[in-house]
């Protein structure tokens, strides 16, 4: 069901009911949730919000609430599986799914009654045609006898009507036989579509209820996709363009001196700023060392790398003492034209993309943040290992930090983010220096041992993914092996020592024009099946899997033979 007036009307229908929000644990989902909450509050829609971090929690939450709610909204979860099959809901239950995970499961796409997908019209879903994959049983028998790969058009037309009847019938198990090959091609590669936060903002805009606050959350949602490397550079730039138009519309009053807003009002500005992580809340030096782009390109894990960094700083005329100070305390004369200066010197050192298009938020004199700052802070709060109650407490804290009234939580998040980035860089450096990244043939493999410093941080999926991406970037810069540079990476880390489990993520190869498509989801599934390993595909991203430590080697062997 596409995003048009029909869907908006259906959504407006939803606004009369009580709704259960099931929200995944990633920053984009949190932002989308904030926007939707604001819309619901505006229209007095009663809702209950339940955070879910995986399929098990989703199912539990559904079972607990299915007697009380008929309308469910799923944010960043549920699109890539057969929801009706997994949840087995009653016929009068409706699911609104706003999920950036792709490919969307075909059953969800073609279901016209219970499942409503919130997708932007220009998001190309590439779904196989209905006729190609849904057939009833009689036609299937005919097919296998005839062994042709397409029946005659007139037959197809008749069958289509019969199949229509079957599909729209209330018994799901009458839905027909899938053509395996077509589906395999469709579902083989996982990727991400438009950020859910942006989709929610679009909804708000269509209802003429969009606010600057919601726009900021949409920006943070998109930036989260960029930080986690989930979308291509082109998609990012396109989406930035879309948001830029909204930003101008909401924030043009400052250009007119007479009518400008008070300094305390929140305003968003477009920035072509340095991609150095958290640099305005840290020191320039720390930021240079702990941002993967600079760290990988300058090869800061080696002694020559450190020297190159000194040369880089010297080239810009920035004294070491200044650069190691807190950014706000740096000499103003040095901060003027800093961005242009750094960009110029950076290109001499092989870093042509040190600046990136993004947005910043200002409110009051002291508070200025880049979108990426918020992403890092929120993600760190969400995956904080400091145990303060059940897991959902972290989710709640992270959700709170997105409100401007909770600056203390945001600053807490920034501090945690700095620790996390440092931990990532140190782990990356040690992995590279001790040659822990080994080629297994079709992929690279790196495993963190129990007892490695900060290893507990990496038992969480988002942190582990971030580490893997930084590691792969650095490895590609460090290795001379041309073939290895094009390989994807599988990263493993201990998850729960008591239960003896390991968490494994697979990420696509690091290339300039990567389409960010990831085949590890299916590969993991197949390898688990073929080796009878005890695995748990709990995360909404299929390329993340948990398994028992003992099963790890046979699982890996199966993967190697599968992908060779």
């Amino acid at each position: 069901v596409r995003f048009d007036t029909y869907v908006v009307n259906t959504i407006l229908l939803l606004f009369l009911q009580r709704v259960l929000l099931l929200v995944a644990s990633d920053v984009d989902a949190l932002c989308a949730c904030k926007i939707l909450q604001a819309l619901f509050q505006c229209d007095h829609v009663q809702y209950t919000l339940v955070p879910v971090s995986g399929w098990q929690e989703l199912e539990t939450a559904f079972l607990e609430h299915k007697d009380q709610f008929k309308y469910f909204v799923l944010i960043n979860c549920g699109a890539n599986v057969d929801l009706l099959e997994i949840l087995q809901p009653e016929e009068d239950t409706f699911f609104f799914v706003c999920d950036s995970h792709r490919p969307i499961n075909v059953v969800n796409v073609y279901n016209e009654t219970q499942i409503k997908l919130l997708v932007k019209p220009d998001d190309d879903l590439d779904v196989p045609a209905y006729d190609d994959i849904f057939r009833d049983e009689e036609e299937e028998e005919e097919e296998s006898e005839a062994e042709s790969d397409g029946s005659e058009p007139s037959d197809k037309r008749r069958r289509f009507e019969e199949v229509c009847f079957f599909c729209f019938s209330l018994k799901r198990n009458k839905i027909s036989y899938y053509i395996r090959e077509i589906l395999f091609d469709y579902e083989q590669y996982e990727y991400h579509g438009t950020s859910s936060a942006m989709v929610m903002f679009d909804l708000a805009w269509m209802m003429s209820k969009d606010l600057n606050d919601m726009l900021w959350w949409a920006i943070v949602g998109l930036t989260d996709q960029w930080v986690q490397d989930k979308i291509t550079q082109m998609k990012y730039v396109t989406d930035i363009g879309i948001l830029q138009r909204h930003v101008s519309r909401h924030n043009h009053r400052n250009e007119d001196e007479e009518n400008s807003l008070s300094i305390d009002c929140m305003r968003i500005a477009f920035e072509y700023d340095l991609r150095l992580a958290l640099y305005q809340h840290w020191s320039l030096y720390e930021s240079l060392c702990n941002t993967s782009y600079t760290s990988a390109n300058l090869k800061l894990w080696s002694v020559q790398g450190q020297k190159r960094l000194q040369e880089f700083l010297a080239d810009m005329g920035l004294p070491l003492k200044q650069v190691k100070q807190k950014f706000n305390s740096m000499d103003i004369s040095l901060k003027e034209n800093l961005k242009e200066m750094i960009e110029e010197s950076a290109s001499k050192f092989g870093m042509k993309d040190l600046r990136v298009q993004t947005f910043s938020i200002h409110f009051g004199f002291k508070n200025k943040f880049l979108a990426s700052d918020i992403v890092y802070a929120t993600a760190s709060l969400m995956e904080s290992i400091e145990k303060e109650g059940p897991e959902t407490t972290n989710f709640i804290k992270a959700l709170d930090s997105l409100s401007r009234g909770n600056l203390d939580k945001l600053h807490q998040g920034l501090d945690l983010a700095k620790k996390q980035l440092r931990a990532i860089q140190q782990t990356v450096a040690s992995c590279i220096c001790t040659n822990l990244v080994i080629s297994q043939g079709p992929f690279l493999y790196c495993s963190l041992m129990e007892g490695t410093p900060d290893v507990r941080l990496f038992s969480k999926p988002v942190s582990l993914c971030l580490l893997s991406k930084y590691l792969l970037k650095s490895f590609v810069c460090s290795t001379k092996n041309k073939r290895c540079k094009l390989l994807p990476l599988i990263m493993a880390a201990p998850m729960d020592v008591e239960q003896g489990t390991v968490i494994m993520v697979g990420i696509p190869p690091e290339t300039e024009s990567s389409d960010k498509k990831n085949f590890f989801g299916r590969a993991f599934e197949k390898a688990a099946e073929s080796t009878n390993s005890r695995t748990l595909h709990n995360h909404f991203d299929m390329s993340i899997i948990e398994l028992k430590t003992e099963d790890r080697s046979k699982f890996l062997d199966a993967l190697i033979s599968l992908l060779s």
Partner: protein, 195 residues
Amino acid sequence: MAGERAVGLVRELQRAAGGHLPPFRAEELRQALEEMRALYERNQADVSEAKAGRTDLIFLIRFRHCCLLRNQRCIVAYLYDRLLRIRALRWEYGSILPNAIQFHMSAEEVEWFNRYKKSLATYMRSVGGEEGLDLTQDIKPPKSLYIEVRCLKDYGEFEIEDGTTVLLKKNSQHFLPRWKCEQLIRQGVLEHILS
């Protein structure tokens, strides 16, 4: 020392800050009343003797009389302050008090509470037209009809008057009409979130 027990009752109430209702000290009250009775009897005896001529007893009689007045004052203050606290409980907890608090009340106090409840209900019914007006709602002027609340502890299912149930699990957030949540906010199960 005369009057100690009565003062002790008052002190205990003073220590119980914030409207908290400590258990009813029937035993101490009985002892204080016993003390008063003993003082009174001795005074009775001494008054007849003083009338008969022993004027040196007058000061002692006066002293005992002061003790009696003091005891009376303390005991009355104790009972009255407890009643004021019980009255406040009706506004805080509603018409059904938690068992823990009821346990702290004497039978007479329970009786008084029921009568107060009735009195209040009659008054509320008489105000505000046909349906009456529930004065215990919205004690602070509300800013919005609906509020966002967060569940601070696992409470289980919460049934609202129109039959719908809400499952209150720790850290779940809900957007509900204000009047449905006020009770639970006061009890500390829900927390009002200001965005």
